[in-house]
Symmetry: C2
Subunit: 436 residues, 2 copies
C-alpha cells in the first residue's frame, strides 16, 4: 500500500476532497446533489451550457432531484457546474455518468465513454479515483477505458490512479428509492481502488456492496435489467395469447400475485421504453458474440419487444374495424407518450413507434401528454393538444398509451366513442373499450 | 338460484358435508389432512392400495404432511382412504389431485384427468361440487372435463352439479408456506359453483381469491410456473456465458439481490427438475398451437433447459481433462439426485440425465443421496452408496448435483481429489473445485 493511497484515503475520510461528476443528467445530477448535501465539494461537468447554467442558477430540471436540496447545495457552495473540463485536474474523484445508447443497428455506442476517458486522461492529476456508472458490457472498464486513460495520462492504474465500475440504479419517478437509500454495487481493478471508492461513495449512498472486479459489477447491472426485459417480454407475449383466448391477462396477474413466494408481477404494455431495459441487455449480447455465445433469451425477448408497437397498431386497426373505419383517414388521439407513468421522458417510448406507424398508414394523429409538450417520431413532429371534451368527441379512436395518474379516466371514457386501452387504465367493462 | 344450491350451501356452512379427494399424492394428501383437521369428513381416493393402507394406518409418506396431524385426522375418524371409487357417490365435494405429466414427446398426458372424470361421472350424486387442482392448459375444465362428466353422469352443470378449477400451489419442502396459509385461486363455470367452492375451500385454506372463470384460474398457475421456468433458464444461460467470461455468476446474483425493488434472484443449476416447472409451460404451448400462436419465450427456455444436462457432462469432462483423464473409465460420484435440496423426489431431476450421459460415455458411476435409496435412468439402475472417506478418495471426480443441507461440505472437499460443484455449495476457492 503506497503512501499516496494512505494520503488520499485520509483526505477522503476527513472530507477534504473534491468530487467531479461528469454528465449532469438523470444519474449525475442526483448523485452530485447527494454528495453536496453531505458537504462534499462537488463540481458537475457537462458539455451543455444550458444544463450548467441551470444548475448554477438553482433551476432543477431532473424529476428525481429535490428542488430544496439543489438550492441548498448551490447556496452552500458545495455544488457548481461547469463546461470547462480542464477543471477535472482539481478533482480527487471523478464519477462518469454519461449516456451509453445503442446505435440504429442496436450496437453499443461508446463515444460518450470514450470522450470522457480522453478528457479525464488529458486533465487528471496523480492520485485520482475514477468510477464509471454508465451501463455497459462486462469488460468495458478494464479493456476499453483503462487503456485510453493510461495512454492519455501517461499514468499507471493501481500506482498513480484508481479505476472502478459502480452501476447507477436510478429508477426515474421512484418515490421510495433514490440515490441515497438504494444500495450501490462497486467493483474496482485494485484493492486500494475498492477501498477508496467505497469511502467516497459512502458520502452519497447509505449502503455499499463491494464485488471482486469491475466486470462482476458490470454484469450485475445487466442482470438486473435483463431480468426485467425478459419478464416484460414474457408477459407481453402471454398478453397477446390471452387476447386470442379471451382471457383477461390483468385478472390473471392479479390472481398470480396472491402467491406469497416465488412470483413477481410484471404487467403487459405496448412495448418497452426508457434508456435502460430496451438497451442494456443488448450490450451483453454484443460482448457475448466475442465469446461465441448466443444469448437466446435476450434475443427472443428482443424480438417480442420489437414487434409490440406494430401489434398495437393492429389492435387499433381491429378496434376501428368494428366501427367500419380504417386507420387511413381516422382521427386517432394518443394519451401519454412518456415511456412510463408520471415522468417527462419519451426516450425509446413505444408510443412514438405506434404513432409513427399509425401516421404512416394515414391516421390523423393527435396526442396529449401533461409532461411532454412536443415529440418527434422518425418522420413526424407533434405538439401536445389540450385534453378537451371536443378533442375526445371528435376522435374516431382514443388510445391510452401511458397511464399517467393525472388522467381523468371517467372523463375520457364518457367523452370518447372508441378507446383502445393498452395499460389497463379503464376499470369496469365497456363495449367501446378494447384492452390489450 | 335453485333450492338445491341453497340446500348445499347451508350444509357446507354447517359442516354437514363430505369431501372426496381424488389422488393422495403430494397435493391430495396435505389437502385432505387440512380439511380433516377442521373436522370436515374427508375420504381420500387412490388407485394405490399401498397409499390407502398407509393413510388408514396413519403412516405418513408425504414430507409436507405433519405426522401428528395425519394421526389426529384418522384417529378422529375425519379421514379415511379407499380404493373404492363407488364411494364418490357419498361425496358432496370432489377435488381432483391427479398427475398431469407430459409424454415422451412433451405433449400433455391427460389420461389421469380423463379417468377421474369418468369415475366421477359414473358415480356422483346430484348436487356435487367438483374441482380440479391439477395443472393443465387453459380451457381444460370447460372443454375437456365438462363434456366427459356430463356425458357419463347424464347431469347438467349449473343445475345438477358444479365444476371449478382451483390450482394447487404446493411447493414441496417449503417450511413457511403450506396448504393452509398459501392463498388459493378458484374459478368456476357458474356463480353458484364459485360460491360453493369458496365455502368449501375456506375449511382448508385461509385465503381464497376468486376469478371470473376456470380458464383464468388455469392460466394463473401456468403464469406462475412459466415465470420460474424462464427466469431459471435465463440465469442458466447467463451462468454458461459467465463461465466463458470468467465471471462468478453467484457473486453477480448476490450483488444484484441488493437492489431493493424490481429484482428477484434465481440461481443457476444443472437443469430444471420436479413435476411443475419443466412441464407446466408446455401445457400452455400445447393449447397455444390451437390459436396459431408461437410462445417464443417458453420455447427458448425449453431449449436451454433441455441442453443443460449435456452441458454439465461437458463440464465434468473439462474438469477431468485437467487431470489428464477422460470420462471413459473414470470413477464419478454424484452427490444428490433429488431435483431440489432436502426432498426425496427425483422426478425430472437433471442429475438422472447427467448420470445417464456420463454412464453412456463409459464413466463408472456411483451416487449418494440421503433421501433416495435407488434410481433408474433411461438405461441404468443404481443404488445409493454410503458417503465414506473411501468412496470420496477413490473417485476421480465428485459431482455435487443437489445441495442437500445434510452434506458435510468440508468432509467432501477434504477427501475428494476433484469436485465439480453445480450448486455453489463449496464456499471458498480451491484449485480442485470447478463451479458452474
Amino acid at each position: 500500500m503506497s503512501e499516496l493511497y494512505h494520503e488520499i484515503l485520509t483526505r477522503i475520510r476527513n472530507n477534504q476532497f473534491l468530487v467531479g461528476v461528469v454528465g449532469l443528467g438523470y444519474v449525475g445530477l442526483p448523485l452530485a446533489v447527494s454528495f453536496s448535501n453531505k458537504k462534499v465539494s462537488t463540481i458537475g461537468f457537462d458539455k451543455s451550457i444550458e444544463k450548467c447554467t441551470k444548475v448554477n442558477s438553482k433551476i432543477n430540471y431532473i424529476g428525481d432531484v429535490n428542488d430544496e436540496e439543489l438550492i441548498k447545495a448551490v447556496n452552500g457552495r458545495y455544488l457548481e457546474a461547469t463546461t470547462d473540463f480542464c477543471r477535472l485536474k482539481d478533482c480527487d474523484a471523478i464519477i462518469i455518468c454519461v449516456p451509453t445508447p445503442l446505435d440504429k443497428f442496436r450496437k453499443p455506442n461508446m463515444e460518450f465513454i470514450e470522450a470522457a476517458c480522453i478528457e479525464i486522461g488529458q486533465n487528471m492529476k496523480v492520485g485520482t479515483f475514477i468510477s464509471l456508472e454508465s451501463t455497459t458490457y462486462p469488460t468495458t472498464t478494464e479493456e476499453f477505458m483503462l487503456p485510453i486513460i493510461e495512454k492519455e495520462s501517461g499514468l499507471i492504474e493501481g500506482r498513480d490512479f484508481w479505476l472502478a465500475f459502480s452501476p447507477e440504479r436510478v429508477d426515474p419517478g421512484n418515490k421510495q428509492y433514490g440515490t441515497r437509500n438504494t444500495p450501490k454495487v462497486i467493483g474496482a481493478i485494485s484493492k486500494e481502488g475498492l477501498e477508496i471508492g467505497k469511502s467516497i461513495y459512502e458520502y452519497a449512498v447509505d449502503t455499499i456492496h463491494t464485488v471482486s472486479s469491475p466486470k462482476v459489477a458490470e454484469m450485475v447491472k445487466i442482470l438486473e435489467n435483463t431480468y426485467r426485459l425478459i419478464n416484460i417480454s414474457l408477459i407481453n407475449e402471454l398478453a397477446l395469447l390471452c387476447g386470442k383466448m379471451e382471457i383477461n391477462i390483468w385478472e390473471v396477474i392479479d390472481a398470480a400475485k396472491t402467491k406469497p413466494y416465488g412470483f413477481q408481477a410484471f404487467y403487459p404494455g405496448p412495448g418497452i421504453g426508457g434508456h435502460c431495459i430496451p438497451l442494456d441487455p443488448f450490450y451483453l449480447e454484443h460482448i457475448a458474440k466475442k465469446f461465441n455465445f448466443d444469448l437466446s433469451m435476450i434475443n427472443t425477448a428482443g424480438h417480442i419487444d420489437m414487434m409490440m408497437p406494430h401489434r398495437m397498431s393492429i389492435k387499433i386497426s381491429t378496434a376501428l374495424n368494428k366501427h367500419k373505419k380504417s386507420i387511413n383517414g381516422s382521427k386517432i388521439l394518443f394519451l401519454g407518450v412518456a415511456y412510463k407513468p408520471n415522468i417527462d421522458d419519451e426516450r425509446e417510448s413505444p408510443a412514438l413507434k405506434i404513432i409513427e406507424e399509425v401516421a404512416n398508414k394515414g391516421g390523423i394523429v393527435n396526442y396529449h401528454d401533461p409532461f411532454i409538450s412536443k415529440i418527434k417520431t422518425n418522420s413526424y413532429s407533434f405538439k401536445s393538444v389540450e385534453l378537451s371534451r371536443e378533442i375526445l368527441n371528435s376522435s374516431d379512436c382514443v388510445v391510452i398509451t401511458t397511464n399517467h395518474d393525472a388522467f381523468n379516466i371517467d372523463f375520457i371514457v364518457d367523452n370518447s366513442m372508441l378507446i383502445v386501452d393498452l395499460r389497463n387504465t379503464v376499470k369496469g367493462v365497456y363495449d367501446k373499450v378494447y384492452k390489450l
